[in-house]
Each structure stands twice: as structure tokens, then as C-alpha cells.
Symmetry: C2
Subunit: 122 residues, 2 copies
């Protein structure tokens, strides 16, 4: 029987940070929710764009272009940003923040399989 995916209900099932949970599949991509707080690591995904939609809280995505120049974009609820593939970025939250993120299935969240979180399914 078809059932909706309720994002708040999924987010209520865990409390740890920076561990994305897969909630649906879309064209070979993982649709995920994640709770974040504090700073992640600088990384890039050479083969995929990175989709961020803030559901609750506030997320700053630091960006570094090919010349090394840094900028940043800050997102509140209902705001999204796509980090283009290959662009170095570092997500930072100064409060508990909930995100909907989308990446191709199997993409390591740190850009490096050795340090990536295991993506479990909720």
C-alpha cells in the first residue's frame, strides 16, 4: 500500500548528527534526512551536485572556488542550495538543524569512502 514519507516523523527516530538516513529512492539517488550541529569537514564530490534543503534551523555552507577564494551561503527553513559538483564546501550549523539532502546512491558524505558515514535506511 502506498504511504507518504513524513519527514518530521523520520527525523523523530534518531538524534545523532551528521549521519544521513535514507528515506526514499529517486532515479538512483538517495533521498535523505540528516540532523546537523557544529562544523562538518571541507570536502567536494567530483561527480555529483549536492542538494541541501533546510527543514528546521539554519545552515551555512562555506564554499571555496578553484582559486581558493572562500564565500558562504546561509539557508533557513524552506531555502535550498545546490553545491555544484567539484566545488569544495563545508556545512556549518550553529544550532540543531534538520536537512533534506539528495545524493546519488552510495555517494560518501565526506567525499571519501574512508571517512564517510554509513547511510542507514529509516
Amino acid at each position: 500500500m502506498a504511504a507518504p514519507v513524513d519527514l518530521a516523523e523520520k527525523l523523530g527516530k534518531f538524534s545523532e548528527h551528521w549521519t544521513p538516513k535514507v528515506v526514499a529512492d529517486f532515479n538512483g539517488h538517495d533521498i535523505m534526512v540528516v540532523k546537523v550541529n557544529g562544523a562538518f569537514v571541507w570536502h567536494a564530490h567530483p561527480d555529483t551536485d549536492d542538494f541541501f534543503l533546510v527543514l528546521k534551523g539554519r545552515l551555512t555552507i562555506k564554499l571555496r572556488d578553484a582559486s581558493g577564494t572562500e564565500s558562504a551561503v546561509t539557508l533557513g527553513p524552506g531555502q535550498l542550495y545546490i553545491v555544484p559538483k567539484g566545488v569544495e564546501h563545508c556545512p556549518v550549523a550553529e544550532e540543531e538543524t534538520h536537512l533534506l539532502i539528495i545524493e546519488p546512491a552510495g555517494t560518501p558524505n565526506t567525499g571519501d569512502p574512508a571517512t564517510a558515514a554509513v547511510k542507514t535506511r529509516l
Copy 2:
């Protein structure tokens, strides 16, 4: 300069129904917002899943499987559903409803280029 995509701000720029507006690009897909009310047409996308996230209002997606059996899923704000590729579906809203939808760039929203809405960019 990097700027967030504010979904409510984009939705405030138009009033017509069933005419998706592209607000961002992600891995060859259009990220779109759309306002809907009433019933759409039954259709299927043979080559792509169909992503629906309700931002405001309520959406029922009628579904018809290969045997012709109908079912339905109803989504409220913060709920999403992925219609698998090839599955016939008919979105219906009984009130003004706002959605975030994702399809490969160029996918006709009716499943048929002859009847599809032109996807403009906001």
C-alpha cells in the same frame, strides 16, 4: 555570489496552476515549484521516477498499477512520495497546494510533449 533559493519567495512570483517553475538544477534534473488545485491528468513517465514534496496544502496522488487496480496516497506539508517510473498516476488537490517537484530536465509534466506545460525558470 552564492544565494539560497527561497521556495516561498519563488512561489510568491506566480499564481497559475499546474505550470512548474524551475528554481535550481541538480544532476541533470530540474528542481521545480508548482501550485496545483483540482485534478491533473492521468499519465506516466516511462523513464523517470516522479518526486513530490508538499510545502503547503494537501495532495492526493491516485495510482494505477499494471493490473489496473487503483490506490491513492495523500500528502500534507513535509510529506513526500516518489511515484516509480512507469506507474500511472493522477495528482489531485482539493485546495490550493504548493509542491516541490523534481524531474530530469526536459521531462514533460503530462508524460507527453504535446500536452506538457512549458517549464519556465524563476
